[in-house]
């Protein structure tokens, strides 16, 4: 199937089955294969030489991957779904919001969910949200389909002969907020991002921070604090709890290892602080804050800036 030497080939499968066959054949022939979703990461990287590929398997024509659907408890989003497709999706307002603030119209029209997972950029908006959402990644390879938790997928990476078919997350059980901070959104990834998801049914709050570690990290201690502190019958919490929540996130962010190397935008200390600010703000937006006790300042250290 493959020509030898430097020649290159483009595969345009129509079904997931064809894609797996082509990927496996290309992989066996020993050529460098790249999976192409929207291309917003891959194409500039090919141009700059950051990545190379002798064979490209382009997934745009695989209509199975462009479906999103809802089960009784879960939402499944095909790997080929674009950010624009998710914008305004009423079944997951939080995911819709995270997709809405990715890049520019041009990028949102082109970039896909599968590409966000495959590229796994530290500043990826969707990764932070999906980490907080306890998402599962569905992949398929010649060995058949597989499901795995997002952290395992990100830690192990995608097998060279596998492709992501979809991501699955629970239907929302309460407010979900995604916030980020950084340079011009349309041109640069977030420096720090934060997702807070509240599940009023299961009495749970989850929080993930992107931009402090190589991958988004969950804020376990802050989550446990919130679980104990929130009045789950009303969804209210004291305003001092929002400050404490932000402080716990700052502490946890500073402990993340391995830390993301400091870039031109933002020292480590700045990013920890920003994580606390965003977390406190997202926390306050998800829950009803009760008035602070008399004599206590209204603004918290890290949770300043109310919605």
């Amino acid at each position: 199937m493959m020509a030898g030497g430097k020649s290159s080939a483009m595969f345009r499968p129509r079904t997931v089955g064809e894609a797996v066959e082509m990927l496996a054949a290309a992989h066996e022939s020993g050529t460098a294969v790249a999976l192409l979703g929207g291309g917003t990461d891959l194409v500039p990287a090919l141009r700059s030489g950051e990545r190379s590929a002798e064979t490209v398997v382009a997934l745009r024509r695989v209509l199975e991957l462009r479906v999103r659907g809802a089960g009784a408890d879960s939402l499944t989003i095909g790997a080929g779904v674009t950010y624009t497709d998710l914008d305004g999706w009423s079944l997951s307002p939080g995911l819709a919001r995270a997709a809405r603030v990715v890049g520019s119209v041009q990028i949102r029209n082109t970039g896909t969910v599968g590409g966000a997972l495959g590229s796994a950029r530290p500043g990826g908006d969707l990764l932070t949200f999906l980490t907080a959402a306890d998402a599962e990644v569905l992949t398929v390879s010649p060995r058949g389909p597989e499901r795995m938790p997002l952290p395992r997928f990100l830690a192990d990476g995608l097998a060279p002969d596998a492709l992501v078919t979809a991501v699955r997350l629970a239907r929302p059980g309460g407010p979900q907020v995604y916030l980020k901070i950084g340079g011009r959104q349309a041109a640069y990834p977030a420096v720090v991002s934060c997702a807070v998801l509240v599940d009023r049914v299961r009495h749970r709050l989850t929080c993930a921070i992107g931009g402090v570690g190589l991958l988004p990290v969950r804020m376990g201690e802050a989550e446990r604090y919130a679980r104990d502190e929130v009045d789950w019958s009303t969804g209210t919490v004291s305003s001092s709890a929002a400050r404490r929540f932000g402080d716990l996130v700052v502490e946890a962010a500073a402990r993340v290892s391995p830390a993301l190397p400091a870039g031109p935008r933002g020292s480590a200390e700045y990013r920890w602080h920003a994580a606390g600010v965003l977390a406190g703000r997202a926390f306050a937006r998800c829950l009803h804050l009760t008035a602070p006790p008399v004599g206590e300042p209204a603004r918290g250290s890290a949770a300043g800036g109310q919605p």
């Binding site: 290159s8 500039p44 659907g69 499944t76 520019s104 041009q106 029209n109």
Partner: protein, 223 residues
């Protein structure tokens, strides 16, 4: 053949969003029923490069022997001589290379040309000289939205796309929708004024509603 479980997607409940995009029935991708051989690598015998066809501004163009990693931008400019798209950042950040790809605004530097096989590509030159596009061009000139002009082709495509989808966009929505296009001359005030002028001409804004460009937009990222 690999077994692909239906577990992959809850397809029945969700339906297909825009399932037809990218498959326009023309070009080589035949909608035949035989599954055999479809999607085989289509290498061109001579150079080992790709051969594919693009509908560029209404004309069917054949590309042969291009490098597989070439972006749509590179192929448009360097292979097909379509200079209506401008080449600046090549990272999907500046919007100078904006085109409509099967009707959707895209940065052509982030699209793999070989993957656009069979697609309709519309540059500023293919938008036509009447209707909305005429109004956008006229108001860019009338409002001084063009200085060095390098970003203008991308802006005109992006503005036409915006006003097609969202004719009554308010200023904040205009600024957000055009965030993917960078202009280093105007500071954007004149460009927003041009968009407002198009809306006014088309009766979407009340004539007395004087646009006030330059107001700080609220941050869509909540930051």
């Amino acid at each position: 053949m690999t077994a692909v479980s239906a577990d992959g997607l809850d397809a029945a409940a969700g339906g297909t969003d825009r399932g037809d995009a990218g498959v326009d029935g023309t070009g080589r991708e035949k909608a035949g029923t035989d599954g055999t051989g479809r999607g085989e690598a289509e290498t061109d015998g001579a150079g080992g490069g790709e051969s594919y066809r693009l509908h560029v501004d209404g004309f069917l163009r054949t590309v042969s022997g291009a490098w597989i990693g070439d972006s749509l931008l590179t192929v448009l400019r360097d292979v097909l001589g379509v200079t209506a798209v401008k080449d600046a950042c090549e990272q999907g950040r500046c919007g100078a290379c904006s085109v409509l790809l099967d009707g959707r605004l895209a940065a052509s530097c982030t699209v793999l040309a070989a993957d656009a096989d069979g697609s309709r590509v519309v540059t500023v030159a293919g938008l036509g000289g009447s209707g909305l596009t005429r109004a956008v061009r006229a108001m860019f000139l009338a409002e001084g939205a063009v200085q060095c002009g390098f970003c203008t082709p991308g802006f005109v495509v992006a503005v036409t796309d915006l006003l097609t989808r969202h004719p009554d966009a308010d200023e904040e929505e205009i600024r957000e929708a055009l965030a993917g296009n960078i202009c280093r001359c105007t500071g954007y005030g004149r460009i927003v004024a041009a968009v407002r002028a198009v809306q006014a001409e088309r009766g979407i804004l009340p004539p007395g509603d004087t646009p006030t460009p330059g107001d700080a937009p609220s941050r869509p990222d909540g930051g």
